[in-house]
């Protein structure tokens, strides 16, 4: 462990966030990505092994796209960290699978993660608010899910954008049950005061809302917006993204463009957002990247970037992953379109298809 070097890299990562918030040009992405890769190769033996296996000499790296990506499954099997467990500040965990393997992402200094999350969240969800607003979270509270990175991020948003500190009336899902009564009361208060609301919601909670409200409406104050994130994870029926958005817009009496999807994962420290709230040309399904993270569609076999317009799996270079893995290999399918900012998210790669009676990995993991 080299705390000075880590702290220095955190400072360089935060410089990206500072520059973004000031509207200035970002520092050199490739330079920091390669420096992080060198640091991680020095202090994470697994990453050093991966570099050797890929024939990559960290000291010779000059481009972010050449940094070997750590598959997200590695977070389930071992500690992906450059520092001793004793100095861990927070550990986020993925939701479980049927085989019981949960990925863990340990952080030595979560302030870098929080600064990045707040800056980009504010930019795509709340930049037009001239004062704090009522914020509700249709998801479990940090007390109920203390190792959820989403819960941690939502708590940060409540503190940063909310008119009141997080309270029992902020978190409206308990035991997968939506507290519609409290939600209704919060909305009534906001309507009476003419305040727009920020609703931070998991997809499964939104489906529970649809099912509870039915053909009725649940009108939000003008100017309100909804951040929708995560999958259904067997906690609700599955609803297609378009259908969910259309129904939510009807129920909440808001424009569909005010329903903004967020894409993130426990193994990352950065998030990505649909730009529909502030960019009239933006489409749903296309996500903006912060200047400190790049999503590169790669060929699933060669791991080489695919040509623009072609679908690949997402290799994500995240400069906020200072002490874990700067490059992550996901199983999500993405595409970059010519002349378009950001990337399209096309769902999870299905993995090797099941054939005959040989069980597929997805079946074993309960994610088929």
């Amino acid at each position: 462990m080299d705390l000075d070097r880590s702290s220095s890299l955190h400072a360089r990562a935060r410089a990206f966030v500072d520059a973004f918030e000031r509207g200035e040009a970002a520092p050199d992405f490739d330079e920091l990505a390669c420096e992080l890769a060198r640091y991680q190769a020095d202090h994470a033996p697994g990453f050093a092994r991966l570099c050797r296996a890929r024939g990559v000499e960290p000291s010779a790296l000059s481009r972010a796209e050449d940094v070997p990506a750590v598959p997200t499954d590695a977070f389930k099997l071992t500690r992906v960290a450059t520092f001793d467990e004793a100095v861990t500040q927070v550990t986020f965990r993925t939701s479980g699978t049927t085989v019981g393997a949960r990925g863990a992402h340990a952080m030595r200094d979560a302030s870098t993660y929080e600064a990045a999350a707040l800056a980009f969240g504010r930019h795509w969800l709340a930049r037009d608010f001239d004062r704090p607003v009522p914020v509700v979270v249709l998801g479990p509270s940090p007390a109920a899910a203390p190792d959820s990175s989403l819960g941690h991020m939502c708590a940060s948003f409540v503190r940063a954008f909310g008119e009141a500190a997080p309270s029992e009336e902020t978190w409206l899902v308990a035991g997968d049950v939506l507290d519609l009564g409290t939600f209704d009361a919060r909305v009534a208060t906001a309507l009476a005061k003419g305040q727009p609301m920020l609703v931070l919601a998991t997809s499964f909670a939104l489906v529970h809302l649809l099912d509870a409200v039915g053909d009725a409406t649940f009108e939000l104050p003008a100017g309100s917006r909804v951040m929708q994130t995560g999958g259904f994870k067997g906690k609700s029926r599955e609803v297609a993204a378009d259908e969910l958005r259309t129904e939510l817009a009807r129920i909440f009496a808001i424009d569909e463009r005010s329903i903004v999807a967020e894409y993130g994962m426990t193994e990352l420290s950065s998030q990505f957002y649909e730009r529909t709230l502030f960019d009239p040309a933006a489409r749903h399904g296309t996500y903006a990247e912060p200047p400190w993270a790049r999503v590169v569609p790669v060929d699933p076999e060669s791991l080489a970037p695919v040509p623009e317009g072609e679908v690949g799996i997402a290799k994500i270079v995240d400069l906020m992953n200072v002490d874990s893995a700067v490059a992550i290999l996901t199983q999500d399918r993405v595409r970059r379109l010519p002349g378009t900012e950001g990337f399209e998210l096309l769902g999870r790669a299905p993995g090797a298809p099941p054939r005959g009676c040989s069980i597929a990995i997805d079946e074993l993991l309960g994610r088929a």
Binding site: T78, L329, G351
Partner: protein
């Protein structure tokens, strides 16, 4: 007319004899089976000569008949990977009924067609266009992926019973007393058969270490297995790896390289898990996930989340294996996991509905 047990045994034995006739003319069939299954020619030869149950005893056939039950009619829907599985499927159907119709897999019709032809039994016929929704009575025996079974279940008429034989995998248990070289040789045989694409194919090897959670024996076992699989790669080459399987293999190898260690062969890969890590399953096509455990209890805890998927359990110590294996799993010696007796279905989890 009610058929006696002895009659049924004789009828099943006739099916096994037909299979022997098919093996005898394998030179005519191998190219087509290679084409349809994706196995190498040597892999097809291995399957036909080592993994087809041709010498069942009367006692085994008696057990098969007892388990088969009784049906007015049985429609058999076959899967492709373990193409010789058609023998067991047809044998069970014939034991159950005097009216059997077989729908071969579209991906591998060759062996099933040859078997039905060789049987020359008026009670068994092929129907390659069989529509399960039009089956009016009796049972449908489906061999294949769970999604296929679910799809067929949804289309059945109400008075038709479905018996599903779904997807699964095998686990190897290498005890503290095992000779690692011998166990590795046996497990390699089980992995190589059908390119590890059957529901009995071992995908995980648990190695008992001793009282401390190290991985020295697991490492040594993995090295021995690596050598055996390399040797098999020359003798019995793996069939071509589809693109998505190559991607799954690369991802698994990268994961294990980061997490602990991966041994990558010409046609196989072995991942060695860090001590105490949860199970992360590996792909098929000659991949083995090797994990160390301290005791039987430790192994049980590691396997518990996967138990429902475990169809076969191989070990150097079958008594120890029986204490660990789910009650429905077939327990055998290493090297025999892919050669179950012809005494009933290979998948004993029970799939009737």
């Amino acid at each position: 007319m009610e058929r006696s047990v002895e009659t049924r045994i004789a009828e099943v034995r006739a099916v096994a004899l037909a299979a022997r006739a098919v093996v005898d003319r394998r030179d005519e069939l191998t190219a087509a089976i290679v084409e349809s299954t994706g196995l190498s020619a040597a892999g097809v030869e291995l399957a036909l000569t080592r993994h087809l149950e041709l010498d069942a005893s009367d006692a085994e056939l008696r057990r098969l008949v007892a388990q088969a039950g009784d049906a007015s009619r049985v429609a058999v829907i076959l899967s492709a990977n373990v193409f010789v599985g058609a023998l067991r499927a047809v044998a069970i159907a014939r034991a159950a009924s005097a009216d059997v119709v077989v729908r071969p897999s579209r991906r591998d019709p060759t062996f099933a067609r040859a078997l039905v032809e060789a049987a020359s039994d008026p009670a068994i016929r092929l129907d390659e266009g069989l529509d399960v929704a039009r089956v009016e009575e009796g049972e449908i025996h489906v061999y294949g992926h769970d999604a296929t079974i679910a799809d067929i279940r949804a289309r059945l008429r109400p008075n038709v019973r479905l018996v599903g034989h779904g997807s699964g995998m095998g686990v190897a248990w290498i005890t503290r007393g095992a000779d690692l070289a011998v166990s590795a040789r046996g497990l390699a045989e089980d992995v190589v058969a059908f390119d590890q694409r059957g529901c009995l194919s071992p995908r995980i090897a648990l190695v008992e270490e001793g009282t401390t959670r190290t991985s020295s024996r697991a490492d040594a076992f993995a090295e021995a297995l690596h050598g055996e699989l390399e040797r098999f790669g020359i003798e019995i080459p793996r069939g071509p790896l589809p693109a998505e399987e190559r991607a799954a293999s690369d991802r698994y190898v990268a994961t294990m390289t980061y997490a602990c260690r991966a041994l990558v062969g010409t046609q196989h890969a072995i991942g060695i898990a860090p001590p105490g890590a949860p199970m992360v399953p590996c792909p098929a096509y000659r991949h083995v996930h090797v994990a160390a455990c301290t005791t039987e209890d430790d192994a049980l805890a590691l396997l518990e989340p996967l138990a429902r998927s475990i169809v076969a359990f191989g070990s150097d110590d079958e008594a120890s294996a029986r204490r660990l294996a789910p009650k429905w799993a077939r327990v055998s010696a290493l090297g025999r996991m892919q050669r179950p007796r012809l005494d009933g279905p290979v998948d004993l989890r029970g799939g009737a509905a």
